[in-house]
Assembly symmetry: C3
Homo-oligomer: 324 residues x 3
């Protein structure tokens, strides 16, 4: 694996899920694979799970880890090419990346959508600079439009909870991505990314969201988008809860009819669906306490699988680097 | 040891002091005891000594260390149960703790008193959530009402300076905890905690503070509280200097008569008392430069012992974990 | 080596450059030299290169690394001696240093010029406290008047690009330090420091800056200072680009005639000069995109050499410590 920024960087999804599940059985089976190599974890945004799980995964492989909270610890970054830097920005992102090239064997970066300029976000204005200027592998720790390490962890978690091959279940699981309420405009990255990965999984996948909240067609493609949540949830085996703001009316929050918060009552029409969320979650807004703390939730299992998702990816990248 | 949040988590105080002193002689005698295990150091508040000494202690034992400055690096936390999270808070503390459960073998947390609501602080509104939701051992790096790693370091330091068993000193040392001036309302945690630990030590212990500044009776119990500083300091062998705000008139600062700053002049009535402080200290407000920099101060020795206090505690917790 | 705060802490410049170049060939040749020892990297200011390269250098030697972002993570520091600390400052720098003495085998510190009081900066009001109170070796990660790890990296880079001994070049290279425009008052530390180190190298060294921007005579000494940039650049082999504010009219920015930004056009009079900058650089203000991204730039190579500069210094300090 050269870079890891979307599902399209994976050769074989089933293989990497299997690999991650094997790592989960014995996370320390390759404690020196990363020996003498350095991964830089660059955070342009807040992080809890990604920050900790990436460090653990890297340490399990013997990688040296550098954590850089770029905004607080380094210099205010310029992202526009060709600009005369006579304002607030002190260092151009491409110079920072060229320096990271000198210091790191792998660069991992979190760069959220700015939510101000649709084109910038759609074009991954920051991640694209990393992909352009990095001379070492780049791993996305969530970018403007995708959160692939989360999505891989989601696939691992679904696989653990739906024994595709072990039991004689002669049908695919039904997986529903359902929009949830929020108070602020949130990026579509997790929704887009989960969609892309589900399209590669052997599942029946549907999305449900209010009108005005359809995700970018470039991600949803042939996936059914249903505007009636109850109808979508019917017979669901897995429900993924996530808020996002409007893509068409970019970064705005059109008025929504009805209450989209996931509750135990809404679970009644499902096939005892397992409930998923990438966290952080706003309780009693996106989903109720009773769902979060109930027996259907596999949300903390998902969080744990972030370690093995990251470790599988770092491991494949190290395999490639160690070939050279 | 399962958790470490107060003196009551210690089986035998003399044993753990002896253990810490043995570690001090050779901090690297068990460099792989924590191998393959991870400690998460979660800071909800500022820290210098605790931050660094905990990292050193953990590294000395071969533990992987994750440091999380929660407020700056992760998400704004909600502490109230059952709330509809439609405000400024992004993640509920109990979800953050459940995630830490997935990632860490030991969770250590610093969570100061909020100093706004007495009941919240007395009930340890934050630490109690960790104790309730953590599935791994919890270590307090100072909570609303106690600072046990500091208090253990204090006991180690007193032991080093009063050779209880080696010399034929046929009396207990007199230890005085004296209130000191400050300009802001400060929590009672260090005072409470030192009191609890001194009650377990073989010392004569008294507290002196201005009227209106008596510590919580649940901590002071039978310990004499004297409102005349000079009288209290008479014949002292150890003086612990610390400010705290009023407990009765919670988090306020009732008017104080006289000057409570510790000076060399005040030391004259003592038995050449050793002077202690947990740091940080406001010079020439809590105590004078001449005391801080004088021959009576054992304050930096105290700071050093924070390493061995933490290492003894982590080591006992690892013994417990390694049993399983 | 006891401390490293300027070129005067080096026994033999050629030896340490050679040592650094040897480390560059095999950074992991002494992976246990620092075993069981701890370096504290204390940042009172922002840092990218210094932060990361110091960590890598220390890890390459097997040192434990503690990173402390003092302002954000610890306590607001007091720098004035004898003051009554009844204001915003919570901990005196000398107490913080005494604590670091207890925890670290080497203390490295970044403490920029405050740019408010000339005397404070000239006298290194912060670094001098470290030198006074530290009981372990002190390494400057840039202080008010010098940036010696950068300057050593600069010497390494010039040596790599001017094979003094390998080729029969019968002349010294001409090295020009040229002032560059900026929008804010910037410290003279990099300029001063580069000047000091070039004075020890076997090069022809000149400085060019606008009138009113001459560096402190205590640093420039006999080095020619030319106020005509074009004249200074003539036949240059190396050009070091850096802004600084006025020393005489301290921390101010007297009006400048002409455009001092380095462009390809200005390079025409040089001997195909290599262009250097310590980074971060403001593109199209200090130098043009075409220079930064052109074939003359050795700026990223300089950044990489920060690792080996730090590693050579830490290694010499460890040699000294390991003697004891």
């Amino acid at each position: 694996m050269k870079n890891f920024t979307s599902v399209y960087d994976i050769d074989n999804l089933q293989n990497i899920i299997a690999k991650a599940l094997k790592i989960k059985e014995n996370p320390l089976e390759n404690p020196t694979k990363g020996k003498g190599k350095t991964i830089g974890l660059v955070f342009l945004n807040s992080s809890l799970r990604t920050r900790l799980s990436s460090q653990i995964a890297a340490q399990n492989l013997g990688l040296n880890v550098l954590v850089l909270n770029a905004a607080q610890e380094a210099w205010n970054l310029e992202f526009a090419d060709g600009t005369v830097m006579n304002g607030d920005t002190v260092e151009h992102i491409k110079d920072a990346i060229e320096v990271l090239n000198q210091y790191c064997d792998i660069i991992a970066v979190r760069c959220f959508a700015g939510m101000k300029n649709k084109e910038d976000d759609v074009n991954e204005s920051i991640l694209s600079q990393f992909l352009k200027h990095a001379k070492v592998p780049v791993v996305s720790l969530e970018s403007a439009t995708r959160h692939p390490l989360q999505s891989l962890a989601d696939c691992i978690t679904i696989t653990e909870n739906w024994p595709f091959d072990k039991l004689k279940i002669n049908r695919k699981p039904k997986v529903v991505l359902t929009w949830a309420p929020h108070i602020k405009p949130i990026a579509q990255a997790v929704g887009n990314s989960f969609t892309e990965w589900m399209q590669q999984m052997d599942v029946d996948f549907v999305i449900t969201n209010p009108e005005g909240y359809d995700l970018d067609k470039n991600f949803t493609k042939e996936t059914p988008v249903i505007h009636n949540q109850e109808q979508a949830l019917k017979d669901a085996d897995f429900i993924y809860v996530k808020n996002w703001s409007s893509f068409d009316d970019y970064a705005n929050m059109p008025k929504v009819e009805g209450d989209w918060m996931l509750t135990n009552e809404k679970l009644e029409v499902t096939n005892q669906a397992k409930v998923m969320h990438c966290l952080p979650v706003r309780r009693n807004l996106e989903l109720s306490d009773e769902v979060m703390d109930g027996k259907n939730s596999i949300i903390y299992q998902q969080a744990k699988n972030r370690i093995f998702s990251a470790q599988a990816v770092f491991s494949e990248i190290l395999d490639e680097l160690n070939k050279c």
